[in-house]
């Protein structure tokens, strides 16, 4: 099968790749563009480790045909570091995950960060436990029991949008 020429907008950059036309976005990210932050845990949409954002929405890269997202704004975990909310190469979510030890092996973490960032960008306010559980129900983590991830996301939302009582932190 001949390769398709793909033009993708990823993390604010225009990137080009030649890849088989049937390749998923995950394959193109990992095997053509060396954006290895998005992980393959199941390759069939069950685990969420490959979650990226397409126009701000969380999307499973392993179920997305790369050619179908040309012209869309894609964001991967590598792009969190230079979003406007980031400081010193680190997004508040990454900083909170680091402080809370919310990543143990870290393999599910990129996908969880992208799903969490989409949640915070959508709500633009401090979030509560039930909202996080709902929004991240499609992302499996096998290490943490989720507790510290929830703590970290709530913490980051308060860092970004003020504490739950409306006071800036």
């Amino acid at each position: 099968m001949p390769d398709a020429l793909l033009s993708l907008r990823i993390n604010g950059e225009s990137l080009h790749a030649a890849a088989p036309a049937h390749w998923t976005l995950l394959e193109v990210l990992r095997y053509r563009l060396d954006l290895i932050g998005s992980k393959q845990g199941c390759d069939k949409g069950d685990c969420g480790a490959c979650t990226v954002q397409v126009d701000g929405q969380p999307v499973l890269a392993c179920l997305t045909l790369a050619s179908a997202v040309q012209g869309r704004e894609l964001r991967t975990v590598e792009g969190l570091a230079w979003m406007p909310a980031a400081a010193r190469g680190c997004h508040p979510l990454q900083d909170a995950f680091d402080r809370w030890d919310a990543a143990q092996c870290g393999f599910c973490t990129p996908g969880i960060l992208m799903a969490a960032e989409a949640l915070l960008s959508r709500l633009r306010r401090p979030v509560v436990n039930a909202e996080v559980r709902e929004a991240l129900a499609g992302n499996l983590c096998r290490c943490t029991g989720y507790t510290k991830i929830i703590d970290a996301i709530i913490d980051a939302s308060e860092q970004m949008f003020g504490s739950t009582d409306g006071q800036p932190t």
């Binding site: 088989p20 990992r30 060396d34 954006l35 290895i36 932050g37 998005s38 992980k39 393959q40 845990g41 199941c42 390759d43 069939k44 069950d46 685990c47 480790a49 991967t76 975990v77 590598e78 969190l80 570091a81 190469g89 680190c90 990454q94 995950f97 680091d98 402080r99 809370w100 030890d101 990543a103 143990q104 092996c105 870290g106 393999f107 599910c108 973490t109 990129p110 960060l113 996080v132 559980r133 709902e134 991240l136 129900a137 499609g138 992302n139 499996l140 983590c141 096998r142 290490c143 943490t144 029991g145 989720y146 507790t147 510290k148 991830i149 929830i150």
Partner: protein, 796 residues
């Protein structure tokens, strides 16, 4: 252990790093998507390996024809079992598997041939082009049927389908049961479960022009992999380099060699190019080595006051096609149960059989999670029968610190009573339990676990752990350790110890681990050994360096070395804290006095803490952790759906070296046990030729964010003289009580015993309906009669 005999080290630098919450040394780069796990390794000319797997559960291989595959464009090498015929096994006494099947296949998923091709699509096409002729054999899916069957499953088995049989008796069990006021008898079944690490197994191999073979693998036991590669590939070990890249979870599922590691190595040799194999998720399920299904019959004798008189256990282990760690599992199924409760008499008889299923092995809480379920439910049944509070009954049987178990294991520190008190208070057990309405309940369970094993897997007199630490004149430390950080944070643990001893911040410490060319040998991440063993070795090295630095500072300050402490990136006079020097300068003074600052540290286990009988070393540990859980459940009596609302976990880890990491281990353990209790089933379907019932992360139900209860981790610290700063394990022990605590809570909610895992809605509903029928017939008392009772019965 620390400092004791050396007067130079009698300063106390408490709480500089110990017990704090740390940012892990390697987490941020993982969160930035920069860390290269094994599948992220790129090498020029990298080929992709796929393994052809058996569609049959049991068959002889008549012929394998690879000619069509070899002729395909883009195929660079093909491998069949006969090329790697030397059997291996992680336990040196039971080498009973080969890299690929040679004469027969023993389960659906057994590897038969492998190819290395230019890309995955070509590799997949090539394995489909391999023609295998099989002669089908009857398959066994039940251990007792396999033991009685005529066909031997494993080609290297010496006793039919018997994999291992262990009978051990301590004290007079028959009289202990005869003399008991109450004998609780129960039969329990633990369905198999698997690890479910999100990173699939992956290995990459490359042969350098000078002949050195490098294997990168997602393994938690680099050293054992190194040994088995040397054996199977018939290569001197020094021509092999094993590197464990950062690992995406393991839980015991990566603690022995797997077929892909041998295949990529041999295919790299044959093709002259680097080769990678990444398991599909389906292959991960078939490779398994997860928790053994166990059928367990227990008799437990009690006096009227709730104290145990004796325990008798008969256990069948369903081993699957290969031994894996099964010899050890069979011992562990009996040996690890003799605490936290005092057993005056104990007998266990455990039998492991081969079956035509994916091989079972170690999963977090190896060997003891299944029998712990049985024992803790037995205790709960006794508490109900004797009308004793279940927590109180456990207190009355506490074995305490400093003694010896009935199977002659020496117990050091023991914080079990405090664990019980903490979960009792946190769950408001006493106030709430008697008031909860029908459908809501609280359950308790306790457990113990090992902090490493006193003897290594292969007998040798070398250290069980060794670490090198170097200091740098820029004010940094480097740690070289063979230990496998599998996400549990062992690299950070080493950094904490070095930072504590040398007065550094964690950012000042670089940890390089699990590269056989660069790091000293370590035995790996299994049996919860790293904090105690590698931690002690690291402490040994760090303290030697500390002495040198303090001596150099003392000389220049003209004070005794005991007055110098290292803290907050400074060397300081304890009696004149205003007098200090930067740690960088202190290191430079020490390097001027002593030359380059590098030390090795070693650890070996005490050899006087195990049983004096055959098998008495298996399961003996330098130190034991203790745990107690209280689970709170809501059971929907109309559907059988069990919802776990809370799990309170108190875990005695001796000393928490890094607080959040310990909490994370406690929470992750409780979560994993919760999943096993309610949702997870790893099994094959005999009616469909032994295929897995659901080898995907959708069908194998791992708890999601929405399923998981609120987990409340509480750290209890009963420091043990054997551990670094008193530390014991935290990664496996806290899983054990989850399952029986939930089982006991279900009983407390709706009055039914589910002695068979998992506690699925149909099973729970059937038990509830059976009980209601008995109640209706007047053959059973009404559960929670009166105002707390079922809403539809309150008026009756």
């Amino acid at each position: 252990m620390t400092d004791s005999a050396d007067p130079d080290t009698l300063d106390h630098t408490p709480d500089w790093q110990l017990g704090k919450s740390h940012r892990k040394v390697d987490a941020m780069e993982r969160m930035r998507g920069i860390t290269r796990y094994t599948d992220d390794i790129k090498l020029p000319g990298l080929l992709h390996c796929k393994i052809l797997r058996s569609p049959h559960a049991h068959a002889n291989i008549v012929s394998v024809d690879t000619s069509r595959a070899e002729a395909m464009e883009g195929v660079f090498a093909v491998l069949v079992g006969a090329e790697l015929p030397i059997p291996y096994g992680v336990i040196p006494w039971t080498p009973d598997e080969t890299a690929l099947a040679v004469t027969k296949v023993c389960y659906v998923g057994d590897g038969v041939a492998a190819v290395a091709a230019i890309d995955e699509d070509t590799a997949n096409a090539a394995i489909r082009a391999i023609e295998v002729v099989y002669e089908l054999l009857p398959a066994y899916y039940d251990p007792q049927e396999a033991l009685a069957g005529d066909h031997t499953i494993n080609p290297f088995a010496r006793r039919g389908n018997l994999s291992k049989d262990v009978v051990l008796e301590f004290g007079d069990v028959e009289s202990s049961l005869d003399e008991a006021d109450l004998v609780v008898e129960g039969e329990y079944f633990f369905e198999g479960t698997t690890h479910g690490a999100i990173e699939p197994h992956c290995a990459v191999a490359q042969v350098e022009p000078n002949g050195v073979l490098t294997v990168w693998s997602a393994t938690q036991v680099s050293h054992y992999l190194h040994r088995e590669l040397a054996k199977v590939l018939e290569r001197p070990a020094h021509t092999i380099r094993v590197i464990q890249p950062p690992l995406g979870g393991a839980f015991g599922g990566k603690s022995e060699p797997f077929d892909l590691e041998f295949c990529v190595a041999k295919l790299a040799e044959k093709s002259g190019r680097p080769v990678k194999c990444l398991y599909t998720r389906e292959e991960v399920f078939y490779s398994h080595r997860g928790r053994h299904p166990m059928r367990m019959r227990y008799q437990t004798g009690f006096r009227q006051d709730g104290t145990i008189t004796g325990v008798a256990a008969r256990t069948y282990l369903d081993g699957g096609a290969y031994s894996s760690f099964g010899l050890v599992t069979t011992y562990y199924s009996g040996q690890l149960l003799c605490a936290p409760y005092n057993f005056p008499a104990y007998r266990f008889h455990s039998t492991r059989a081969y079956t035509n299923k994916p091989a079972c092995g170690p999963k977090r809480g190896h060997g003891s999670v299944q029998p712990r379920f049985a024992i803790e439910v037995q205790l709960d049944k006794a508490a109900i029968a004797l009308d004793i509070d279940p927590i109180e009954l456990r207190r009355r049987n506490d074995i305490g610190p400093g003694g010896e178990t009935i199977n002659e294991f020496k117990i050091g520190s023991n914080g079990f009573l405090e664990c019980l008190a903490r979960v009792e208070a946190a769950s408001s057990w006493s106030e709430r339990r008697a008031k909860l309405d029908y459908g809501r309940g609280l359950g308790v369970a306790g457990s113990t676990y090992i902090s490493g094993t006193n003897y290594p897997i292969y007998p040798n007199e070398m250290p069980q752990a060794a670490v090198q630490v170097c200091l740098d004149r820029s004010g940094r430390a480097r740690v070289f350790s063979g230990a496998n950080d599998i996400g549990q944070g062992s690299n950070t643990m080493l950094a904490v110890i070095v930072a504590q001893e040398l007065g550094l911040e964690l950012d000042d410490v670089r940890v390089l681990s699990a590269d056989s060319d660069l790091c000293p040998v370590d035995l790996g991440a299994y049996s919860s050994r790293i904090t105690l063993m590698v931690g002690n070795a690291c402490l040994d090295a760090a303290q030697k360096l500390r002495r040198k630095v303090r001596a150099a500072v003392a000389k220049r300050f003209e004070i005794p070395a005991r007055r110098v402490t290292l803290i907050a990136r400074k060397a300081m006079d304890l009696e004149d804290p205003g007098r200090s020097v930067s740690i960088t300068e202190a290191f430079q003074w020490a390097e001027a006095d002593h030359g380059l600052l590098g030390e090795v540290g070693n650890y070996n286990t005490p050899k006087d803490r195990h049983g004096s009988y055959r098998g008495g070393t298996i399961g003996a540990s330098p130190a034991y952790s203790f745990t107690a859980h209280v689970a709170e459940v809501e059971v929907d009596a109309d559907t059988g759906v069990v919802e776990v609302k809370h799990i309170w976990v108190a875990h005695d880890c001796g000393k928490a070296l890094s607080r959040r990491i310990v909490e994370g281990q406690i929470e992750g353990s409780a979560y994993m046990g919760f999943g096993e209790a309610l949702m997870e089933r790893h099994d094959v379907d005999p009616d469909h030729n032994g295929v897995h019932i659901g080898p995907s992360l959708l069908d194998y139900r791992m708890p999601t964010f929405l399923d998981t209860p609120e987990l409340h981790a509480m750290i209890v610290e009963a420091p043990d003289a054997q551990g670094p700063y008193g530390a014991k394990e935290a990664g496996e022990g806290p899983l054990h009580p989850s399952i029986p605590a939930i089982a006991n809570a279900i009983y407390d909610a709706v009055g039914v015993r589910i002695d068979c895992l998992p506690f699925s809605p149909p099973r729970v509903l059937a038990a509830i309906q059976d009980r209601l029928e008995l109640e209706d017939a007047g053959e059973s008392p009404v559960f929670k009669a009166g105002s707390r009772g079922r809403s539809d019965r309150r008026s009756a």
